[in-house]
């Protein structure tokens, strides 16, 4: 047995469940309980480079990169890198930790890893002069105060990648970045994306070092009031429809309602919000992971955009069996467009 397995299976569980007996302060579920953290409200547009930084007043935040890559032989790969920041409140003091997920998929295999660090030990954080987001040796390094253009490097025993990311325009989701997650907008986040990133670099997997190129997508969100724990799930889809067009959809499920949101973004800066009534996005096939069904194949119809797509993963088994598990993987489409992108499936449905 190894330290962490042992610790995880006995001591850590014991610690955690021991801590359970101490009155726990639950995560805030709605805005009225979040007096100590900053609340996401409309009317605070996102500005750059300021909002590339960590927002310490908010409870949760992430820097999310996904990429669809091909090698010289047109073999498909997908990579994911996400750095999360999560805070809790004790008295008047906010305590923050960082955790990161990294994944690499081939058409046959899927590799992933997760890392954790507290903010005050100095081996995880987000800095802005110059810009970098890091946890241990997983590093996303930007240029000056911007994340893009940047470099992304992750190294694990089973997989590694070193990628160069080109610059991209940033698109503010929702209303100037105010992105509601329910119909009355009491749950919301600040949200922007950079969908048109060109990627080149190397991946290391299965004993080989492979040169790859492709497209990447950066998502940034921060909030203190965007989900209700235990009662929430969402599906998120990003697609590079073609060289100059990107599509992002998400459907948020709470115990009361479902919110569907769609956005078309163009390289020239135009963007269009799609009416939810125009979106027909339904699951076609599911697969079971850890006792839950995850719909990994979908059909998408957006008549107003002449989009009719059958969406399939390049590898069914892109399930991140992390402490908080979810399915996230590279997808390709057939139909009106031969697109590539990423699909994320989380939570209850």
């Amino acid at each position: 047995m190894q330290l962490c397995q042992h610790i995880s299976s006995t001591l850590l569980c014991t610690i955690l469940f021991t801590c359970l007996s101490v009155n726990a302060k639950p995560l805030p579920t709605n805005s009225s309980e979040n007096a100590e953290f900053s609340i996401v409200e409309p009317g605070h547009p996102i500005t750059f480079p300021f909002d590339h930084r960590l927002h310490p007043g908010f409870q949760s935040e992430w820097w999310y990169i996904t990429a669809n890559l091909q090698d010289e032989d047109n073999n498909q790969y997908g990579i994911q890198f996400t750095l999360f920041s999560s805070a809790s409140l004790t008295g008047n003091t906010k305590q923050r930790i960082f955790f990161a997920h990294a994944a690499l998929t081939t058409t046959d295999n899927f590799y992933h890893a997760e890392r954790y660090a507290r903010s005050d030990m100095g081996h995880a954080g987000v800095e802005y002069q110059p810009w970098q987001a890091y946890l241990d040796h997983w590093q996303f390094t930007g240029t000056e105060q911007q994340p893009l253009p940047g470099k992304l490097q992750v190294s694990e025993p089973a997989f590694a990648y070193q990628l160069k990311l080109s610059d991209s325009d940033y698109f503010l989701q929702g209303d100037q970045g105010f992105s509601p997650k329910n119909n009355d907008a009491s749950l919301a986040s600040y949200y922007y994306s950079a969908p048109f990133i060109e990627v080149s670099g190397n991946i290391h997997v299965e004993g080989k070092s492979i040169a790859v190129r492709g497209k990447a997508w950066l998502d940034r969100e921060w909030s203190s009031n965007f989900i209700e724990i235990d009662k929430i799930g969402w599906d998120w889809l990003s697609l590079h429809l073609d060289q100059d067009t990107a599509l992002m959809l998400y459907r948020v499920r709470s115990n009361r309602e479902i919110l569907l949101y769609g956005r078309i973004m163009h390289r020239d800066g135009r963007q269009t919000t799609i009416a939810p009534t125009d979106i027909n996005w339904r699951a076609v096939a599911s697969q079971r992971f850890s006792g839950k069904d995850y719909p990994i194949e979908w059909r998408l119809e957006i008549p107003s955009q002449q989009i009719t797509l059958d969406i399939q993963p390049i590898n069914n088994n892109q399930f991140l069996n992390t402490r908080v598990p979810y399915w996230e993987g590279a997808v390709i489409t057939k139909g009106s467009h031969e697109a590539q992108g990423y699909l994320e499936l989380f939570g209850e449905r």
Binding site: L3, Q5, Q95, M121
Partner: protein
């Protein structure tokens, strides 16, 4: 046939309904014997498991540690950050130390929990090895139901951030008197976080576990660590670690930091020997009880045989009885063993942790895990105690009675042979090379040989006295002595057990006393100073002059001790300043001899003339003229050195070949240490900086005020000073705890043996009821008969004690001078306290007599008439 056997078995067992005392003695003997041995087996198993599991627990699992370099007390936290940022993942920051509470001291260990959550995919099967902390399909941790998913952060936060939690194992909480929810108060009036007690099976050791920031705060280690634990060391990681840590830390592989499993073996062997002893004594008690029941059931068995039951049927029926006893004894024995183990385990575990650096809590496991062992032991005990008498009973011809066996179970010849063998091996080492095993053989030979002498000695004593014509004038005494002479075959067994138990008790007492004295001397010698200070260079510049001029301070000097290679093996070097006061404080006076006692074949003869002050001065002078070094006893024994021999050593990569000027006692310490002139050491090792001061204070009562003054004036905290007095107290308390279990067990054995003697005497009395009635009828009063019975018991016990005393001393001598010496290099003098030994002997006899008084007297008051008509 089965029906017949059942009838026979039930009939034979019904005997105990009429004689419940025999059943009780029999069951008690078996159960106690099983219980004692099982207890020691449980404890040993828990201890061995704890050592085996060392790899699996926090801190114990490390393959290596990064420890502060010799001149530093701690590591910069930046080192940890740099390592992580460079990709060295399998490391953990540790801040650990002692904190002073209102009641004493506690060990606190702080770590950062979050990296423990890291996980990564396995390599593919065609790649070498698999990394630790990996996902697997069957990993139960992979099930999301194991974690309170979105609440995960909250609970980690409670441990990791203020107000924190302090986690303690059940055993450590018990030792420290901690309760759930308590916030222990420290000596500086601050409090520790709220205590949460975890089950021992969680894997904590003997310390309080808390978040690293919490530990750093209480230990005064802001942005500092006491070590970095490394759980996996790939070649890449190793190279990175060495590169980044060169300035601050030493990479120490974990196998160097696990201390002497041989010590644990010795400790556990000690326990098991005692357990085995108790087992045999328990068997003796049972043997006595069943022998008497055999005698009483002769008629029953005769009638059975006359009625047509075959010998084999009776044997089977008796085997059925044997099985019943075994089953009962296993149940009762298991329960007693469980209770004893629960009582003893925390103390023993703590002892192992303090002495042998095993961090694992000793875990008791489940009682049903020991059921198999209990049954086996119980069967063994029952067979040993009952098989022979029961088979004799079954196989007796119908028309004769069982006579006392003409074959003495204990042969005088065997006894003398064993004693002789042991003596030859002990006193003629040239014939058989001394070693741990030869020592054990000697000890066992003397033990068993001496004990087997008991019946012979008793018989001969009575035979001798019976020959006195003058005795005829005291007919009651004459009768008693003659009766005792014939009775020794039966009494001899119990008395042998009693002798073994007393001798074992005496041996343990002597060894513990001697060890305690040696240990105390060792502590006094190793920690002669009143105070140690660990400071940085700036603090030393301020504090040393302050202390030098302080009226309470007798002497203050820089304290040098560091690693060195001695003939390519790791050792320690001490630097001695050429200071007349330092000279007088040094071991020269306190260590009694420059060399090892005369008679030791390793060192040759060192005479008392070397104790003269001229010899000491000469030694000191030569030492500081760099004409040689002084080595400790452990080193001398290891390399078979005498004063005048030459020794190759390497200090800081400088090899020197130098003379051994003298050898000082290490009182059993196994660490090779040599002392060298301070200036010479500095020349060889310029970068060696001392940050320690040793301080002698004139009056021990002034230590506390001086410390307060230092603390206030120079802002020192608990990390800066060490009080040897406290260490000595702690060490002695650990010592006490270590041997408390041993002594408790040996006293228990003595009690069991006393019970055995009592049982044997009581059953013998019951057997002699007819005779007692007869002499009562012939004119001896009941009181006199009771007195004679007690006198017989007293004489038997006294003679046994007189034999047990030299036997115990011999066994202690053999164990100390041979077993411990050749097994571990320990060497210390035997301390024999006549008062203590007398107390044991007199107490044993007194308790025996006191217990026998009333029952013996009541026995003699039984109605005479009934026994006259008893069939012979």
């Amino acid at each position: 046939m089965l029906n017949r056997i059942l009838i026979l078995g039930v009939t034979l067992l019904s005997h105990y309904r009429r004689h419940p005392a025999q059943a009780i003695f029999l069951l008690s003997g078996l159960s106690l014997g099983v219980a004692m041995l099982l207890t020691t087996l449980i404890i040993s198993s828990a201890a061995r498991q704890a050592f085996t599991d060392t790899q699996q627990t926090l801190g114990g699992q490390a393959v290596a540690h990064l420890l502060p370099k010799h001149s530093q007390n701690s590591l910069p936290e930046q080192l940890y950050r740099d390592l992580r940022l460079k990709g060295v993942s399998h490391i953990m920051p540790i801040a650990e130390g002692r904190i002073k509470t209102e009641k004493g001291f506690m060990q606190i260990r702080g770590l950062d929990l979050f990296p423990l959550l890291n996980r990564s995919s396995n390599r593919l099967p065609n790649q070498t090895g698999s990394e630790p902390d990996s996902y697997s399909d069957n990993d139960p941790d992979n099930s999301p139901d194991n974690y309170p998913d979105n609440d995960l952060n909250n609970y980690l936060f409670q441990f990791s951030f203020p107000p924190y939690l302090a986690l303690v194992s059940e055993s450590y909480a018990q030792l420290q008197g901690l309760k759930n929810g308590q916030q222990p108060r420290l000596a500086d009036t601050s409090t520790l976080p709220e205590v949460r007690i975890l089950k021992d099976s969680a894997g904590l050791g003997y310390f309080i576990l808390c978040d690293i920031r919490c530990a750093q705060k209480h230990l005064g280690l802001t942005q500092r660590l006491t070590s970095i634990l490394i759980t996996h060391l790939s070649p890449t990681d190793k190279a990175l670690i060495k590169q980044l840590s060169e300035q601050h830390a030493d990479l120490v592989m974990a196998d160097k930091s696990i201390k002497n499993p041989a010590f644990t073996d010795a400790f556990l062997l000690n326990l098991q020997a005692i357990g085995l002893l108790a087992f045999l004594v328990g068997c003796f008690i049972a043997f006595n009880a069943v022998s008497f029941s055999v005698l009483q059931r002769q008629q029953t068995v005769k009638q059975m045989r006359l009625s047509g039951a075959t010998a084999n049927e009776i044997v089977i029926a008796l085997l059925f009885e044997l099985s019943c006893w075994a089953l009962l004894a296993s149940i009762v024995g298991s329960i007693i063993a469980w209770l004893l183990s629960t009582l003893l385990l925390p103390g023993i575990g703590f002892t192992l942790e303090r002495l042998f650096f095993n961090e694992n809590i000793l875990i008791l496991g489940r009682i049903q895990d020991w059921w198999g062992q209990a049954i086996t032991l119980s069967l063994a005990a029952t067979i040993i105690a009952t098989l022979l008498p029961l088979i004799r009973l079954a196989r007796q011809p119908p028309m004769t009675s069982i006579t006392e066996s003409s074959t003495r179970p204990y042969s005088l010849l065997l006894s003398l042979t064993l004693l002789g063998l042991g003596s030859i091996m002990a006193f003629y080492p040239s014939l058989i090379k001394p070693s741990q095993w030869s020592g054990l053989v000697i000890t066992a030979s003397w033990f068993i040989g001496g004990a087997l002498l008991v019946p012979s000695i008793l018989t001969r004593f009575y035979q001798l006295f019976c020959k006195f014509k003058g005795l005829l004038r005291y007919p009651a005494l004459h009768w008693m002595l003659n009766d005792s002479r014939l009775d020794q075959q039966r009494q001899g067994i119990a008395m042998t057990a009693f002798c073994i138990a007393i001798a074992a008790c005496i041996a343990v007492l002597i060894m513990v006393s001697s060890f305690r004295q040696a240990f105390t001397d060792y502590l006094d010698v190793t920690l002669p100073e009143s105070l140690y200070l660990t400071l940085d260079q700036n603090q030393i510049k301020d504090i040393k002059p302050f202390l030098s001029g302080h009226p309470d301070v007798e002497l203050v000097y820089p304290f040098f001790m560091s690693n060195a290679l001695i003939n390519q093996q790791p050792g320690l070097v001490r630097g001695l300043t050429n200071d007349s006061q330092r000279q007088s404080s040094f071991i020269l006076e306190q260590y009694s001899v420059l060399g090892i006692h005369s008679g030791d074949t390793v060192s040759g003869d060192i005479t008392s003339s070397t104790k003269s002050s001229e010899a000491y001065n000469e030694l000191w002078r030569k030492l500081h003229q760099r004409k040689g070094i002084i080595v400790n006893q452990a080193l001398a024994l290891n390399y078979k050195l005498k004063p005048g021999d030459r020794l190759s050593i390497v200090i800081n990569n400088h090899p020197i070949n130098t003379e051994v000027l003298g050898i000082y006692f290490s009182y059993g310490s196994l660490v090779d240490v040599f002392a060298i002139d301070q200036q010479w050491l500095m020349e060889l090792w310029p970068q060696l900086q001392t940050n320690r001061l040793g301080v002698f204070i004139k009056d021990d009562s002034r230590i506390s005020p001086l410390l307060t003054e230092l603390t206030n004036r120079f802002q020192l905290n608990t990390h800066h000073y060490v009080l040897p007095g406290s260490i000595k107290q702690l060490a002695l308390s650990v010592f006490q705890r270590t041997f408390h279990a041993t002594q408790l067990l040996s006293v228990t054995i003595l009690l069991i043996a006393a019970i055995g003697v009592y049982c044997a005497s009581y059953t013998a009395q019951l057997e002699k009821q007819i005779q007692y009635r007869l002499v009562h009828i012939l004119g001896l009063s009941s009181r006199k008969i009771a007195c004679m019975a007690l006198l017989q018991l007293f004489i038997n016990a006294s003679l046994t004690c007189m034999l047990a005393l030299p036997l115990g001393i011999l066994v202690a001598w053999a164990s100390t001078k041979i077993v411990l010496r050749y097994a571990f290099g320990w060497y210390f003098d035997l301390i024999i306290d006549p008062l203590q030994l007398s107390l044991i002997l007199f107490s044993s006899i007194a308790i025996l007599l006191a217990g026998a008084l009333l029952p013996f007297y009541l026995n003699t008051k039984r109605h005479s008439a009934k026994y006259l008509t008893a069939q012979g």
